[in-house]
Symmetry: C2
Subunit: 348 residues, 2 copies
């Protein structure tokens, strides 16, 4: 007998912010959970899904080439997710196994007919370790790996240097900041509300400010980074990047992780002071966590240890119910959320 | 008895292009060539001086901090030069020695009262090797070292890749292109006249175009770099950089050597597509040859060998007479010259 199956559908290409009910809609399809499974097939029940800034770039015309595939109009979106195996005819995925999906389909039930590398059973059983399921799409998932790889591989941090992190209370930034403190860096962050700034100070940032109330970003950075900026963990782009370039020290590194302030503009802002890259001998480097497979084992080992030790705080905003996904996406992009934005779809 | 001593004076801070007679003037001072020399002192007679794009950045208010010192208003400018020792009371600099100066003073005669690291006697005697003196401020000097370090250290070239070089017929670009050919790269360049484009093809570039007559730089680069751009040797900045970012391949490297199109603007152009640095995982890195002392020996060895073998063509524009320096500087900045711009001050 068919069961209802709610799906998060990419319904229209946005030009600025994607709106709930217009660009992203929740529709109810159906799935027969009792139908016999074909060879190697299994059914996943979605527990948690992750909405992340990079997904905005996938909401485009599929004829535009880029290095993450576009979402397909009229089809469910996909991304980081945690699911449980409901039933299975596949000996690698057993009933009750918890499964991480890097590009998991955003629907309540998923009939998996083809295995992909992006799906795997999590090794440490969360029921035994007590690790919250949401952590698997946060500190232990893409955002955690992004923070880890970005800082260690592209930041080349040295004790005593100053790191500045924009969107510092976000899914990636809060980890970058806390790891940086353990390395002996002077850690400065910015965020978009006084609450977020207070949180940054609470988790050990040496200085933090609300960029929305700063009159002049170049001056503000000069004030909060008195020794200049050696490493910039770039999540924002635009005017913030200009202000950082003005404050970078010689041989500074810019870890280009994302530029969220630009994703929802029809025309991105221009950067007028890139000449400083030459004079100051700066290195700006873009990266995407999924290229960095050689660091994955070290990341999993270190981060699992840190999570089990409760070493770092990790703030999340959890929306309840798959219907909240479009709004959660909007809130994350505009900064209405706080910390890592996830959607809890069902209990285990 | 005092002899006249013509000097190239930094006389006014320019806001756009520096003009002869206004921002740079030639004045006649005097020097007593027969006066007794103090301990360790010596007198140099200037033979060749070099005008280079980076010098524009030194024509600023000295209160503005940067990583090359500002020229002093009312004083002689300085830069790459070749001189001969006229008389000496210093056993490291003997009469008749040819001396290279990285920051040699731009005046016909220089009384050296303090040795600096930037002054040294050239090892291969040009009178025996036949190497033209101008080569010491070109292929064998700062521009050669810039080409060598930029390409090998920051470009990480791999056989079969495409390199694109802007200002490709200039002091640095023509060397980058010819070295790149020997490494098995597909070499593409742009320049500002049809003559220069013809020269690029003559020296082995696989493709070249006149950027001044290209309607759309992004489209033009797509046409001349059919496999995309893996390495960009950046001499130009501005709109050219935007067009290159549009055409960069995944993991492309941007060797940020200079941005000459921006030096004489009151407000530099904005770069609107820097987000591509993230999506394409690009690396953009600024450098200045003088930091790269660990590569200097390899450079001198390789480049001297190449010059002695006549391996590469090296086009120069030689202005005759120190009075021509201000105009030579203007011509170099606006692109009226062809190849490396030097000024021949006196014969050996």
């Amino acid at each position: 007998m068919p069961s209802p199956n709610k799906q998060v559908i990419f319904s229209k290409i946005p030009t600025t912010y994607p709106l709930s009910g217009e660009h992203i809609t929740v529709q109810t399809s159906s799935i027969d959970l009792d139908a016999p499974l074909g060879e190697s097939q299994f059914i996943l029940k979605l527990l948690v899904l992750s909405v992340d800034p990079y997904m905005r770039g996938r909401m485009r015309d599929s004829s535009v080439k880029s290095y993450f595939p576009a979402f397909t109009l009229g089809e469910p979106m996909n991304g980081g997710s945690m699911s449980v195996v409901l039933k299975s005819n596949n000996n690698k995925f057993k009933e009750g196994d918890l499964v991480y999906g890097g590009m998991g389909s955003f629907q309540e039930y998923i009939l998996v007919t083809k295995e992909t590398e992006a799906l795997y059973v999590v090794r440490n059983d969360p029921k035994k370790t007590g690790i919250p399921l949401t952590n698997y799409v946060g500190a232990l998932g893409m955002p955690g790996m992004t923070a880890y790889v970005g800082l260690f591989k592209y930041g080349a941090p040295k004790k005593g240097e100053t790191i500045y992190i924009s969107a510092a209370s976000g899914a990636v930034g809060q980890l970058v900041g806390q790891i940086s403190k353990t390395l002996g860096l002077y850690v400065v962050g910015s965020a978009g509300s006084d609450d977020k700034v207070a949180y940054l100070k609470e988790i050990g940032f040496d200085a933090a400010f609300n960029y929305k109330t700063a009159d002049d970003l170049t001056e503000k950075l000069r004030e909060v980074c008195p020794k200049g900026i050696d490493i910039y963990f770039e999540n924002v782009g635009g005017q913030m990047l200009e202000a950082v370039l003005n404050n970078c020290n010689l041989f500074g590194r810019i870890i280009a992780c994302g530029m969220i302030s630009q994703y929802n503009r029809e025309r991105p802002e221009g950067i007028h002071n890139l000449m400083l890259v030459v004079g100051k001998r700066l290195r700006m480097e873009g990266f995407i966590f999924s290229d960095e497979t050689e660091m994955e084992e070290a990341f999993r080992k270190d981060m699992t240890k840190w999570v089990l030790e409760d070493k770092f705080k990790y703030r999340e905003t959890v929306a309840i119910g798959i219907e909240q996904t479009p709004q959660a996406m909007y809130d994350m992009l505009i900064g209405n959320n706080f910390g890592k934005q996830v959607v809890k779809v069902a209990d285990l």
